[in-house]
């Protein structure tokens, strides 16, 4: 039962309970169940169109789910449940829930009219009302961490794809999130730039960050991931330790997919 399932203060960061998502008549997610523990790195693989991005966007409520329940950090995303009824949260409340969840996109989506430093300080200053000096100090620390402190004054268009993606990671980290979502963060990069972004992500994982990573990088999934989830047709087909799933998949669909990509 859903009502007894509310994960208040346990060690589960994300609980997805029977998530469905429709786009009009297109039924994209068909009952996704997934739990991600604190500190866990959960990698998601699956064929194109299987609903990986859609699921990730449901986690921070960029997409409204059509059925099911989704909790992040003990909070029901997008709704308040009272006396068995769901009440939609106001826009400001949804925004407040998202502060705790960082997201990194395939196409970086840096703000082109702002310097690298301003990209990173923007959300803390505008959303958290942090004093500029403090935001700047934190931002410089984060840029240091992703190896781009010397690019603080540059504009996104002056950076390589790998550098832009590392800035995007720093930008998300500036809000001090407890969960990071990555949607194919290296898919838009030239092969020689993939490594630098994966290194930053590996660092983050070792620092104990909870992460959901949609990726095609099987090497990363195997080495860094704690769990590997295979999605197909809008459901989680298989979930387990990366080594087990990759080396001895239990389901025919997983086998078929892996034989194509490995």
């Amino acid at each position: 039962m859903v009502a007894e399932n509310i994960p208040e203060a346990d060690d589960r960061m994300v609980v997805a309970d029977n998530i469905h998502k429709h786009y009009g008549r297109l039924h994209v997610l068909r009952g996704v169940d997934l739990e991600v523990r604190r500190g866990e790195v959960c990698c998601v693989i699956g064929p194109s169109g299987s609903g990986k991005s859609t699921f990730l966007r449901c986690v921070n409520h960029l997409e409204k789910i059509s059925a099911g329940r989704l909790w992040v950090n003990g909070q029901l995303m997008g709704y308040r449940e009272k006396n068995g009824r769901l009440y939609e949260l106001r826009e400001s409340e949804v925004a407040a829930q998202r502060r705790d969840i960082g997201m990194v996109f395939q196409r970086f989506n840096l703000f082109p009219h702002m310097s690298v430093l301003a990209n990173v300080t923007e959300a803390p200053v505008q959303v958290k009302r942090m004093p500029r000096a403090e935001a700047r100090e934190i931002a410089m620390g984060l840029l240091e961490r992703v190896g781009l402190a010397d690019k603080a004054g540059a504009y996104p268009e002056q950076l390589s794809g790998g550098q832009q993606q590392r800035v995007a990671i720093a930008r998300a980290l500036a809000m001090n999130p407890s969960l990071m979502l990555f949607d194919e963060p290296t898919s838009a990069l030239d092969p020689e730039l993939v490594g630098e972004v994966l290194d930053v992500m590996r660092d983050l994982a070792e620092g104990g960050m909870t992460m959901i990573v949609v990726t095609h990088e099987m090497g990363f999934a195997r080495e860094v991931g704690d769990t590997l989830v295979f999605m197909d047709g809008g459901v989680v087909v298989e979930r387990g330790a990366p080594r087990d799933v990759l080396d001895s998949p239990q389901h025919e669909r997983t086998r078929a997919f892996l034989s194509k990509v490995l």
């Binding site: 960029l62 407040a96 502060r99 009219h113 310097s115 923007e122 268009e157």
Partner: protein, 320 residues
Amino acid sequence: MDTQTGPSRAEASSPGTGSPEFIKAVPVRHPGRWVAAGVLLVFAAMFAHMLVTNEAFNWPFMVENMFSEPVLLGVRTTLVLTLLAMLIGVVVGIAVAVMRLSGNPVLAGVGWLYTWFFRAVPRLVLCVLFGNLGVLYNRIDLGLPFDHYWAPLLGLESARFYSFDTRDLLTPFVAALLALALSEGAYMAEIVRAGLQSVDPGQTEAAQALGMRRSTVLRRITLPQALRVIVPPTGNEATAMLKDTSLVAYVPLTTELWFQLQAIGNRTYDPFPMLVAACLWYLAITSVFMVGQYLLERSFARGDRRAGAGLRLLRVQARN
């Protein structure tokens, strides 16, 4: 690889020759251009001759009146009207565009209705209409609505707190300004909407994912990027507005440039030089506008690649 044709490898890159000689060839001649230039020159000479010799121009009379005090005041009114109308138009345009894109069906509907009305009715008609609004209400009262129905039931005479004479509030200048500004708002709304829609939706998503509210996203992320698309047509709008101020004589607001020049022409029975003076004034002011627009656009388009194209002017520098 060996090739049969062309110079051999050794020859092409023989040491010591350095870079090859620059090509010195006889360029293709374009006799047509010279003929065209000659013909145009003759026409230009004829035109200049006409300007100087034709009595109808009456240059001394024109120059004398072109800078007379009422005309200069007219220039001032026209400029003030243009700038204020554009300012209000831009603000209204942004508001209406945001309403139309808000996803709130009521606001979107109101925005659509606004645009529909003010784009459908000619500015000339709007000017006359606003000039005659006094017919509709000769007093404007502030208070609770429909009070003449319910106030007597409560034993009150009325529920109005304050009241203006429409003529005090809606002076010809205000009526003219409203007619032009509200009409401009409708056109600006479409321009702003196009600008906002040109911004990559990924920008909004990234900003929302960071926990920004919609109003913050608009103010800090989408609107600044939309300006790149909004600014050039806004320059055109300003130029069009300058010329449309000549319509406010119908409000009637008669202190404006065109009416003043025309009045002098009518009074002296010599209208033609004043027509020329009007052309010259509008040409001069428009030229100044164009220089401003050019400078603005240039700073928006300076040496940037696609994504960040032309945002230098608006770039947000992280301050210390």
